[in-house]
Structure formats: C-alpha cells, structure tokens
C-alpha cells in the first residue's frame, strides 16, 4: 500500500513538474522499433470515410495533410504539406503554397492536382465513396491549381471554421492517379507522403511501418520502424505495457488503470493528462410525452449536481470537467462565472432541486418514471448512467437504466425508440461549428437525438459560422448555448479527461486534448 502510495505521489509529481516528453530537452536519437498499442482495429484505411481514432492511429503515419495542429501551441494551426498560405481579406479564398519535391511512397511527385483530387473527393465523393466530411467542405465553390505547387480554394460563403477544417487529421492527401484508378482505392491500399511507409497489416494483430527515407521533412522520422499492435481489451493492453511488449497507448486510460500502472511500474512510466474533446450528453426525446414539456426537461437537468458529481466521477471514470457546449478551457468556452447562471449548472444544488421538483409538479408529473437508454460500454457510460439514476432519484424520479450494445443502441436512437438517452460527442478540436452541429434541428441534422426543431438555434448556428469577428462570434455561440439550455433539449453531462501512459523511453510524442491528433509518429524517438 505504501509502495503504491509513494509511486502514485511520484507519478503525479512527475506530471505536475511538466516532465513530459516535450519538456526533456534531449537530442533525439535515431533508430529502433517502436511497439505501441491501438485499442481498436480500423475496418478500412480510408481517413475520409472514417470517424474512429482506430483509422488515424493506423493510417496517420503514412499520410500528410495540408495543414495540421501545432500540438505545442494547440489549437494553433501550422503547415504540413503547405509551406505557406494566405487568406483573402474577405475570407472568400484560401491560397496554399506546397512544399516542393514531396514524393509519394511509390516515388511519384506530389502536385497541387493531388490536393485538388483529395478535396474533391472529400467534398463531393463519387458514387460508392463515403466521405464523412462532405458537409464540412460544402462551402467550397471551386478548387484551382494555377501551378504544380499552388492550390486555391474559392468559397461560396464565408466560413469561420475553414482553417480548422483544413487542419483536420481526417483529410489525408491521396494521389490523384490512385483515385483515378479507383475512387475507393484508399480503403484497401496505402500510398501517402507521410513519415512512414506501409509494411504490412496482419488482420486482427498489428500494422507495421518503416521509415520513409524520402520524407520531405529532413531528419524525420527518428524511428526505423514501428508496430501498432491491436489490443482490444484494456487489461491485455496494460499487461502488455507492464511486460514491455508495448511502450505506449495513445487513446487514453481510466484513473483506476493509471493508478494500477503507476503502482506496478513506478518511475518507468510517464503519465500525461489533459482535458479531452469528448463529452457525454443527456438527450430528451421531445416527441415523447412528457418530454415534449420544457418544464420536465429542464427539471431533470436542474437535478444533476455536475460540480459535485465531477469530483466523484473523476476518481472512477474518464469523466471530469463541467462545461457547456464548447470544451471548458478552450478559446470559445463559456467561462464558469457565466456557466453557473445557466439551467443545470448552478452550484446551489439544493435550490436547484427544489425548483426541479416544483417544475415537475407544475407539469403534472411529480412521480415521473422512465427508461434511460445507454450504451453498453463500461467507461464512462456505465458510471454516467448510474450517476444520473441517483441524481434523478433525489427529486423523486424513478429511472430504469438500460444499457445496450452499440448496434441496437444506435438503432433505437435513430428510430426514436427512447425517451431519455446518454449520447456522446466525439470532436477532434475546439472549433465551435464542429461542436454545435450536434444541436442543429433534426430536419437539418438527423443525429440530433432530441429530435427537436428550433429555428432560432439554426439561425444562431449559421450566424456564428459566417461571423469573422471572434468576439461577435463568441456572443452568438453564448446565445445559442443559452437557447439550447433554456429549452433543455439536450445538454452535456460532463467532459472527459484524457490520461495517456507511455514508457519513459518514449520521447517526442506530444499530448493534446484529442486522441485523434498527433498520431503520425514523425517526431517520436526512443531513449534507450
């Protein structure tokens, strides 16, 4: 016990001191094979048609993107294939100059035609191709390629999120000739310009890559090779890390798993923590009685003690931060002083619950009973569901907590066969547009689980998207958030907290609030 406690104190002190891989100013060493764990296996290799980190942790080392996030200064954007760029004063054109002499793994040279082919596929996928970013790039009017190293995106309308969209890790750049051969070529083949070249994918077991000797960023990557090993069970992954079979896992672990590993490995382990661009959402189906009554919905949100709950839940689960619709602590987030004034976020929980009871009585449902529909994933869905059951019990509401496998869960939600559910939002940055899409009217976005249609929310969404002034945009986002919470269609429960464990020999990897970023391994090296 004492050993465990001392190890934990040591590890926490290690994190607090900022002794992360970025903080250790050592000369990177070249060479070595890096084995790391990927806790899910991608169904295909195509970044454009995927939303799972499993695809990025698999494919990112093989590809480049036009822009990317500078993880040391997140959410600042930096060039990847783009050497420089310029945004027109009216924000109606984006011009990118590409690095020269960039070569695909098959030896062909990258040109602006490859960028155009990639973005044409993203915004207007051919028949039979799935692009999850079609809506993201809907504001692009034309893509011009005046020369081999210049590409110009001309817009139909101003879009304040374009730079974030260009920096998305999902926009892997493919070769135009590969796409011409078969638009679905990237689903099953790999030919990128990234720091590693593809060696093999043993289904169900691992993906292997080796250094791209022609990588356009001179001196990178440091590693000779790597293996991303699929470890689908958290316990198996932790055992493998403790036994030295893998040196890292980049998605994240729970606090209990962190504590176990700290106790077992002590100072051989590096623990890095950050708030996470993921949250759980409580959604009410407004088509079902009595949840068509705003008083009922608001009462249920007001009964939740988020501030107290975050303290307890953060000890046992990946849930931690209290926040509105934008990740707390990020540039567009609502400050705590304003947040506590919104329904569901008051720190005076006794007063809030008294009001909740009054609202239920006024709505004629003082002894409300319903089923809470939840996903059958232990972390963090189960603790979140149990927490909500307890919170609502305190205002006399009886809740049956039903957890289901992903397929029937999604089927029930899409069909509207639920009254209250725990939904989730999986983001890769703090761009407001990305966060707010979830809350658009169901006629515009069928993924809005509340099934609510609210013209005011749609209008505010459109206004913030077209607003170039940051402060004015913030005001519009606040107004949208207030409208959403006043109407209580759905509301974030808590934001997740990311904990990443790596062996101390793993250097150069940068922590960020998203597990979808920083997966290219270009700057990772082994200190052994």
């Amino acid at each position: 016990m004492l050993k465990f406690f001392l190890s934990l104190v040591g590890a926490v002190a290690f994190v607090a001191a900022g002794t992360g891989p970025g903080a250790e100013a050592q000369q990177p060493k070249r060479g070595g094979q890096f084995n790391f764990a990927i806790s899910a296996e991608t169904p295909h290799y195509d970044c454009h048609g995927s939303d799972t980190y499993a695809t990025l942790h698999f494919s990112a080392p093989f590809y480049s993107t036009l822009l990317r996030y500078n993880l040391s200064k997140f959410p600042e954007v930096e060039g990847d294939l783009a050497k420089s760029w310029a945004v027109a004063p009216d924000q109606m054109a984006y011009t990118f100059k590409l690095h020269e002499g960039v070569r695909f793994h098959d030896g062909t040279t990258l040109t602006s035609a490859d960028i155009k082919a990639t973005y044409d596929r993203l915004r207007n996928p051919p028949q039979g191709v799935v692009s999850n970013r079609k809506a993201t790039f809907a504001d692009i009017d034309t893509i011009e390629t005046p020369d081999a190293n210049t590409v110009i995106f001309k817009m139909k309308a101003v879009n304040s999120s374009m730079m974030d969209h260009f920096a998305s890790p999902w926009n892997c750049v493919y070769a135009a000739k590969d796409l011409a051969t078969d638009p679905n070529w990237p689903k099953t083949h790999i030919n990128g310009t990234g720091p590693f070249t593809f060696v093999e994918h043993v289904k169900g077991s691992y993906v292997a890559g080796k250094r791209n000797e022609n990588y356009f960023k001179k001196g990178l990557p440091y590693l000779d090779s790597y293996r991303g090993i699929f470890t689908l069970q958290a316990a198996a992954m932790l055992n493998a890390m403790q036994g030295g079979q893998v040196l890292a896992e980049f998605r994240g672990v729970s606090p209990a798993e962190r504590d176990r590993m700290v106790a077992a490995m002590g100072d051989q382990l590096r623990v890095e923590e950050s708030s996470w661009t993921l949250n759980l959402i409580v959604a009410f189906n407004v088509e079902k009685k009595p949840f068509d009554d705003v008083r009922v919905r608001r009462a249920l949100l007001m009964a939740i003690d988020r501030w107290g709950g975050s303290v307890g839940l953060s000890r046992i689960s990946t849930l931690r931060s209290v926040g509105g619709i934008i990740r707390p602590g990020s540039p567009f987030a609502t400050p705590e002083a304003e947040l506590v004034k919104l329904p569901g976020f008051s720190k005076d929980i006794a007063k809030s619950r008294a009001e909740a009871k009054r609202l239920l009585a006024e709505a004629g449902v003082p002894n409300l009973k319903f089923v809470l529909w939840n996903r059958n994933l232990a972390m963090p869905y189960t603790p979140a569901g149990i927490f909500l059951v307890d919170q609502w019990r305190r205002i006399g509401v009886e809740v049956e907590h039903v957890q289901s496998d992903t397929a029937p869960y999604l089927a029930a939600l899409r069909a509207g066969n639920y009254v209250v559910s725990i939904d989730f939002s999986n983001l890769f940055n703090d761009d407001p547009t990305l966060s707010l899409t979830k809350y658009l009217s169901t006629t515009k976005n069928p993924l809005n689980l509340s099934r609510a249609n609210d013209a005011e929310i749609d209008k505010l969404y459109e206004q913030q998207l077209r607003e170039g002034d940051v402060e004015k945009r913030k005001a519009l986002i606040r107004a949208l958030e207030k409208r959403l919470f006043d109407q209580a269609y759905q509301q974030p429960l808590l934001w997740w907290h990311r904990i990443v464990l790596t062996h101390k020999t793993v250097m150069g990897w940068k922590m960020s609030p998203s597990h979808n970023l920083g997966a290219d391994l270009a700057e990772v090296w082994l200190n052994q």
């Binding site: 999850n132 043993v202 169900g204 069970q233 493998a240």
Partner: protein, 316 residues
C-alpha cells in the same frame, strides 16, 4: 466402413442447411445493422443518404428471401461472402485466425492428454489412497477454475518477473520458439480444465472396466497387471474419454473468447465477439457455419476412432 463414412458425410448436408436457415433468420431479428455501427458508432456526422448508399452497396436493401437465396447459392459454391465490416472475404478473415486457434486447441489437447491419461489411470488404480485424493483435488480445481481466470493467474505470475510472452502471433514454421513462447501459456490455461474433465472421465470409466469379467479372466490367466491395465482395461476405458476430448477440441476452436482476450490472441473467439458487436451478419454466419461443420466433422472422427480402439465396433 467407407460406406458408413460417406453416408455420415452426406448427413452433414441437411444438418448444415438447418444451421444456415436458423442463423440467417435469427440474426435478422437483432435490431440495428453494421452500417450504423460503422458510420456512426464513433459519433460520425454522416448523412442518411450515405447510410442508405452503404446499405445498398452491401445488399441490405434487398428483400430478406433474396439475401438468403444469394447467401445459400454462395454457400453451395463454398463462398461465404464478404465481411460487411472490412469488405474482405469471410473465408480470408477466418483463415487468418484459424491457424492460431487450431494450434492452441492442438497444444491444449496434447497438454491435456499427456496429463489426464496418467492422472486418471493412477487415480483409478490407487482408488481411495492419497494419490486418488490428490488427483481429485487437482481435477476438481481444474473444473472449478474458469480457464480465463487461470490464464489471468498465469499472466500475473509472469508479470511478477516483469515479463510477458509476445502478443503478436508468429507462425510455428517461421519461428517455433517465438510461436511456442506465445501459445504455450493459453494452451496451459485451457488445457488444465480439459485435462481435469478427461482425467475424471478416465478414472470413472477405468474403475468400471476393471470390474469387468474379461479383466478378471486376464488376471486369472496370469497376465501381468501392467498389461492388464494398458492392453485390456485402458483401451476400453478411453472410449468415453475420446468422446469428451472430441467435443472439447471442437469447443476450443471457437469457444476461447475470454481466454483469447486475456492473452490478446487474434483467434476465432475474438473475431466472433467483434463480429457480433458490429452486427457483421456475413461474418457471423460464416463462422457459425464453419464451427458447425467442425463439430459435425469432429463427431465423425470420434465415431471412426471408436472402431480403432474397440475392434468390436464395426460400421457397415
């Protein structure tokens, strides 16, 4: 014998057709489909149009009977179709994992046989002595402790030395040492239970056989006790044990779900769990058909082995 074997093989066909009908239609009762999980399982903001397009591509928009007919025609040509999750042929997905699962099953069978035959025999020959009691404790332990739990104990013991076997599979023909270093532990974990079941079966069966008239006759003729046991008693006592071992072996091919997870093995059991979680109907159907065929085949082998061990049994 040949006629019997051929007729048994022909009887496999209606059995497998029955399994095919059951698995196909029962899976369609499950709500949800693979497209939702694939495109929206991680929160993807995918339009309904794209979901419908993907459903169409996978043939999920066609009438159920048409889908069934299509699949059955494929089955008749030994084509199990393509995985709806990966778009790769089902047979390819299975074959990648089958080698590992088969090897674990074979290693566990060897482990179980090497231990269970002497343990069961000793327990029967030294009935109600300390040897019998010791074997009972060991075998009841094997029956009581789930394989995955024993596997976890093995892993904990290995981690005590800060060591763990490799977690990626190396075929035995590529590197036998790396292969056995990885697979010997799960084979032990499942082999222990396998051994316990078989040892207890051999013990009880041998006790019964040892009281038979022909054993008394053999002894009266002055045959050495060692020969009485090995040539006359054990040979007959092994018959029920063979049945159990056959069923256990077939079970190990697809039934090591949790043990495979504990040891991070890329086997058939894990694939089964993943395909069910994803509603990958084609893959589930393919695996059920493969395992059903395996069970039927193993039963045939067991029946044929009866004839080898007991010359009185002849199939005509």
């Amino acid at each position: 014998m040949l006629r019997y074997t051929i007729s048994r093989i022909l009887f496999m066909i209606p059995t497998l057709i029955g399994v095919a009908v059951l698995v196909f239609f029962m899976l369609r009762i499950v709500p949800g489909d693979v497209v939702e999980v694939k495109l929206r399982g991680d929160g993807g903001n995918v339009t309904q149009e794209m979901v419908e397009m993907e459903r169409k591509r996978l043939g999920l928009d066609k009438p159920l009977l048409y889908q069934f007919g299509d699949w059955m025609v494929g089955l008749a040509k030994f084509d199990l179709g393509k995985s709806m999750w990966t778009d790769r042929p089902v047979i390819e997905e299975i074959l990648i994992r089958l080698e590992l699962s088969l090897e674990v099953a074979i290693l566990a069978t060897i482990f179980a046989t090497l231990l269970s035959v002497p343990l069961g025999t000793m327990a029967a020959l030294f009935r109600d002595t300390w040897i019998d009691y010791l074997v009972r404790i060991v075998t009841i332990g094997g029956l009581s402790i789930p394989s995955f739990w024993f596997g976890m104990l093995i892993i904990m013991s290995l981690l005590f030395f800060n060591w763990l076997p490799p977690i990626t599979f190396t075929p035995i023909y590529v590197d036998p040492v790396a292969n056995l270093t990885q697979l010997i532990w799960p084979a032990m974990a499942v082999g222990y239970r396998y051994c316990a079941v078989t040892a207890r079966m051999i013990r009880s069966s041998l006790l019964e056989v040892m009281n038979e008239d022909y054993i008394r006759t053999a002894r009266a003729k002055g045959v050495f006790e060692k020969l009485v046991v090995s040539r006359h008693a054990l040979r007959n006592a092994l018959l029920p044990a063979i049945t159990v071992m056959g069923l256990e072996f077939a079970f190990l091919i697809g039934g090591l779900v949790v043990t495979e997870q504990v040891f991070n093995l890329n086997g058939i059991g894990q694939l089964f769990v993943q395909s069910v979680a994803r509603n990958d109907f084609m893959l589930i159907q393919g695996m059920v058909m493969m395992i059903a065929a395996f069970y039927v085949f193993i039963n045939l082998v067991v029946d044929l082995l009866y004839g080898v061990f007991d010359p009185r049994i002849r199939y005509g």
